[in-house]
């Protein structure tokens, strides 16, 4: 008989489980958010975007009653993760973090989403590019660098991303603005580029500041300039390009975004949530430790920023034959 009782209990349990969502839906609608939020990182676990994303999620979680699950949807130079978010249900339960790759890949990759396919809600901060040289190159300043590049018949070898990547764009802009020609050597990601300049395979690189800060302090590598509006907090002694008379501001950046058509109240809720999280001094301190530059912005300002970035990037891509998917 024991079997019978268990069987009956099982049926009752099954009925309860099946009916429970129905019961929940009958009541007044629960306030948003009542379910876990999925936070999509469009690069693999362990990278800079992943670390930034997990940190933001960690601190945003503290302001919520529901968990935030971070997942990595990587591939196609960041485009796969963006597609994942763009095509998810517009209910506010899917949020993502992305960077400059979005703007480049919409022109390069016919299958990537464009900036209009998603809704960027808040800015985390820039990750400005810089120009680094090996100390044994004898180059001591940006002026030296440009002079050497113009006079030496063998071009300086610069380590950077594949075409369309942030450090490749930085190198291309550097060539345009200073009228020099470099040999651009492509690497898959920042770590191999760091290894390349440290080993001497290339003489210079256009990596973000924090990638080579330690070698800069140890004296093996010299950072000649930062491509940002203001100096970088990790290298306060290094001048910006602007300070050295070259109007070059570029690099990666990070922002939070949603799929289009999110209900207005949820949109407002998430925008405030992430803006407050990113403005939190405790978060900013943790981010500084991880060498992230933090400059929070709300949706309006962020959209303007992305538009400006798009405008500065387009001619570079056009010149490199990288505008293949859609024209401006």
């Amino acid at each position: 008989m024991a079997f019978n009782i268990n069987y009956r209990r099982l049926v009752i349990a099954a009925v309860i489980i099946i009916l429970s969502p129905v019961a929940c839906n009958n009541g007044t609608e629960a306030p948003f958010p009542s379910n876990p939020i999925t936070f999509v990182v469009n690069w693999p676990a362990g990278g800079g975007m992943d670390r930034a994303g997990r940190l933001v999620a960690e601190y945003a979680r503290k302001r919520l009653d529901v968990p935030i699950a971070v997942i990595n949807v990587s591939g196609a130079g960041g485009a796969t993760g963006v597609r994942h978010v763009a095509e998810s249900d517009p209910d506010g339960y899917t949020v993502g973090i992305l960077g400059a790759s979005l703007v480049a890949s919409q022109y390069i990759n016919p299958n990537a989403n464009s900036v209009d396919d998603i809704d960027i809600i808040s800015f985390i901060g820039p990750d400005p590019a810089a120009l680094q040289v090996r100390s044994d190159s004898g180059i001591n300043s940006l002026e030296d660098y440009v002079q050497r590049a113009q006079s030496d018949p063998t071009p300086i070898k610069n380590g950077n991303d594949a075409p369309g990547g942030v450090s490749h764009i930085a190198a291309t802009l550097l060539q345009r603005l200073t009228n020099i020609e470099l040999t651009l050597v492509p690497y898959r990601g920042y770590a191999p580029t760091v290894a390349a300049i440290v080993s001497g395979e290339v003489q210079s690189s256009t990596l973000p500041v924090h990638q080579l800060i330690d070698q800069h302090e140890a004296g093996d590598i010299k950072i000649l300039g930062v491509m940002s509006e203001e100096r970088h907090f990790m290298a306060p002694d290094v001048l910006t390009f602007k300070e050295q008379g070259i109007d070059l501001v570029t690099g990666d950046w990070r922002a939070i975004y949603l799929p289009n058509n999110i209900p207005e109240d949820r949109h407002a809720f998430l925008e405030t949530l992430f803006f407050e999280t990113i403005s939190d001094p405790e978060f900013q301190e943790a981010a500084r430790q991880l060498s992230f530059f933090i400059t929070p912005m709300m949706a309006e300002e962020t959209k303007q920023f992305v538009e400006d970035f798009d405008r500065s990037l387009y001619p570079v891509l056009l010149e490199n034959g990288l505008v293949k998917a859609r024209q401006k």
Partner: protein, 497 residues
Amino acid sequence: MITEFFSIASAVATDPYLLGLSALGTILGILMGCLPGISSTMALAILLPVTYAMSPLAAMVFLMAVFSASVFGGSISAILINIPGTPGAIVTQLEGYAMTKDGRASEALTYSLFSSTIGGIVGLIILMLVAPLVAKAAMQFRSPEFAMTTVFGLTMLAYSTPGSTFRGILSGVIGLLCGMVGFDLVTDVPRFDFGTSALQSGIGLVPLTVGLFGLAEVFRGIEGGVKGARKTPKLGTLVPSFEKVRRLWKTILRGSALGAIIGAIPAAGSAIAVAVSYAQEQRFSKRGNKFGTGVPEGLAGPEAANNACVGGALVPLMTLGIPGDTMTAVLMGALLIHGLRPGPMLFAERPDFVASVYVALFLALLLTVVFGFLLVRHFVRLMRTPDHILLVIIAMLCVVGSFAIRNNITDVYIMIAFGVIGYVMNRLDIPVAPLAFGLILGPILEENLRRSLIISDGSWLVFIERPIALTMLVLSVSALVFPLLQRAKILASNLKR
């Protein structure tokens, strides 16, 4: 460094909190590593936030345990169900699973555990004693060296396939082609994507190996299910006899040295170390022609190499501040969050902290042995599950594992496609391992060859001017030419007669 190592080791060994953390990290690492799709990197990334509130020492103790144990964990599923749990375990199943099918699962796991530990310790010793030296040597290893070493690897591959060389090369070439799918590094043009976004990210190593080995095995199991071909594993003989282990000493040391060195080369990674080690053991072993049927050398060498990579990968991180792979990148993130920036400065100014990283790794290795031995018995017992249940579970793990790596459904389709391909190839007697090697080596060769030529401004002399590259080139050429000369000699002597 040595005195600091011992003073910190004694402090850690008497601290129940740190010991507990290390034990917890080890168990979590083994469990996460053996789940297909959760790589060591992912295990570290998931557990990193847990360490935010800990002291730097505690965080390192915990994360090193996760790191080191997950590498061993990845071998468990490779050996028992033919699915590599982590990319570093992709050759483990070639011999390991063959042993399992033979009813020697516990023996295989013990070999794996034993050689993993030795490999890990050798990696650690190299890290402790000669890290700056190794880092310097590894830095000599640039694009031309990478290109020529890969050529050497591919040459070895042509020989190291069991059975017909032609079939081996055929399979390897398919692998090379698969490696070309996706965005091209130099021009950023998507190749072989057939106009879909699905193939733009390329064919991942994990979906490919999970399909080729895991799912194909399920298909074979369904086919042979009625006959019940698989032997029930014996639980006894957990510890192979001393004589058996003694015979593997050289293999394990060779694998360890190889793993530590390749691990120290930034961007090389454990998948390459194990592939090279496997090919090498096949050449050295007297039973080389029997590889693929459960030869311990083919298991012990790569396993040692895989774990030696842990110490190796820490070399450029600790001495130069360069994370050589994604795992060490996560560890670097963990250090940064505690205000410690690994690199030449930390190495010079905080030798005590550097030593504590070594202690953490050493403790992790010891605890992996302890928990490994405790868990092996239970894992093997799982294999007594009847086939009709086990095959369903394996099929599910294949799907989950290939999905979890990038959270991308395309990877599941790729995995299923390679499951079918693997099954068909098996029926046609075409070895599948070269396909996986081709996928690993192809992109490395292409990328580095093209980059070398950009750097040398199109001159092929770059491969002859550099000593390491030249050595590799000479080795590859002689590996191809000598057998021909030998054959010609035999032919000539036959003609004389």
